[in-house]
Symmetry: C2
Subunit: 253 residues, 2 copies
DNA sequence: ACAAAAGTGTTTGAGGTACACCCATGG
DNA sequence: CCATGGGTGTACCTCAAACACTTTTGT
């Protein structure tokens, strides 16, 4: 432990960055958590994250901590919300013993679970995926953060093509639908306290997706159990063209 | 100037809270700005805001600074985004001369311009409303913050009843439409670089609003120039009932 | 042959969009 | 009487929602 210290004329908060990383595993929506290896909340599960350095943005800090703690790197983060409640973190300064004011800037991400191998590192005793419907006890206010992320995910998935970030380049219509059903089902359970969830209609779902024009069929087929199905792909170029055209999409064609 | 100092084992950023306060003045969408009375950017226009204290949340700090600088108080703020770019604020610590890392948590609000009298106070040499279409040069990255707020406003106004916060309890359908047109027009100019904007169709707008069921006609009439019109009001109870029912609103009834 | 998954179409109702003429008030 | 703003209806089209039988593959 060195004895450097930092001096300021006015009190400053500590600022962390935390990541809510979503992925789909077969049927369920999962979140990446770490088991804390340090006080406070040592041994508890928590979102990956940590203190932001002075030479990096919040997003860079979030990515660095995520890589250090879970091995997951190079992913696209979206800023979610900044949590500033007083007392949300019990830490005190190591030199002065003065209670720290710790704010956290929360980010969310959507990745393909199979593309990354999760390895605990650094401040994490363990790192693994947990189904959103069955989370362990969490450190700090991380449950609240996850709930907000879920709400945002449910909104976003209806207006933005984020489902494709959870899938391979080529996917079947059923795989795409599994994403939507998993998100809606998890939200129904976790946010709305609903007890059951009825999946979307397969035919209407396909019609809807194809009507968007940026989900396009390719001339390949899936294989595995059951009848092979067409594969589809996300046409990012087409989506961007539509984005430019559709700056205004209610009340106006 | 006292000589208190605060000591931390690790470097800490300074964190401010800034407010993007929107209001409608007749026809135009306005933002509340202050003229800075302190370095840096002394004399430049900026968003009201300032450093968050250790005993208040970001939102409390934003409200306090807003009141101190503009006299506007007791309004509802929504968190927008936290800006953490390195070098976005040129200040240095007053004791050590070390460059500060200043992050800002930006909030947005929608108020009735006539309900508040704007009075410059404190760190502000002046405080006044500016039309969004014609903003002055701004300090820091405040133009970027405003652009993000505008984008969010355009999205929100289509899905959430925030227009009513810009109006009196009782309003004519035309007054309500003015809000939407002002927002869309300002966004068309500022965000999309469009040169013209065609207002919404009066009849379709009314049909749409009434179909929402929470805009209800009351048995009173406006007066002034031209034919008197029905007054309407926002039925908050009805809106909340709908919110509870409509947790899922795409793909499902 | 059986289980598992995929391909496929129609009907109905709701709501978005375009569009124009007459009416009530104040000055 | 005129300027200003408000009241009002219809036709068309798109899209969401409900709904079931057949086909292909692997085992």
């Amino acid at each position: 432990m060195n004895d450097l210290a930092y001096i300021y004329k006015y009190p400053h908060p500590a600022v962390t960055a935390d990541c809510v990383v979503f992925a789909i595993d077969g049927k369920a929506l999962n979140i990446l958590l770490i088991k804390r290896n340090l006080e406070p909340y040592m041994g508890a599960w928590a979102l990956p994250g940590g203190f932001i350095r002075m030479d990096e943005t919040a997003e860079e800090g979030a990515l660095r901590e995520l890589k250090e703690e879970t091995g997951v790197e190079d992913i696209y983060l979206e800023q979610l919300h900044t949590f500033t409640a007083i007392g949300r973190d019990p830490r005190v300064d190591e030199i002065t013993g003065v209670p720290e004011r710790v704010m956290t800037i929360a980010f969310m991400a959507f990745i393909r679970q199979d593309d990354y191998s999760v390895v605990a590192g650094d401040d994490a005793a363990n790192a693994q995926w947990f189904p959103v419907n069955n989370l362990p006890e969490l450190a700090f206010d991380h449950r609240e953060i996850i709930h907000m992320a879920l709400g945002q995910l449910r909104n976003k998935i209806m207006y933005e093509p984020i489902a494709f970030r959870l899938l391979n380049k080529k996917f079947t219509m059923t795989q795409l639908q599994v994403i939507y059903d998993a998100v809606f089902e998890s939200c129904a359970y976790v946010l709305d306290n609903k007890k059951e969830y009825k999946p979307l209609d397969r035919r209407n779902f396909q019609k809807k997706m194809l009507s968007l024009k940026y989900v396009v069929q390719i001339n390949e087929f899936s294989k595995g159990v059951g009848r092979p199905g067409y594969l589809f792909t996300f046409d990012e170029k087409e989506y961007k063209i539509q984005l430019d055209e559709k700056k205004m999409f209610v009340f106006r064609k």
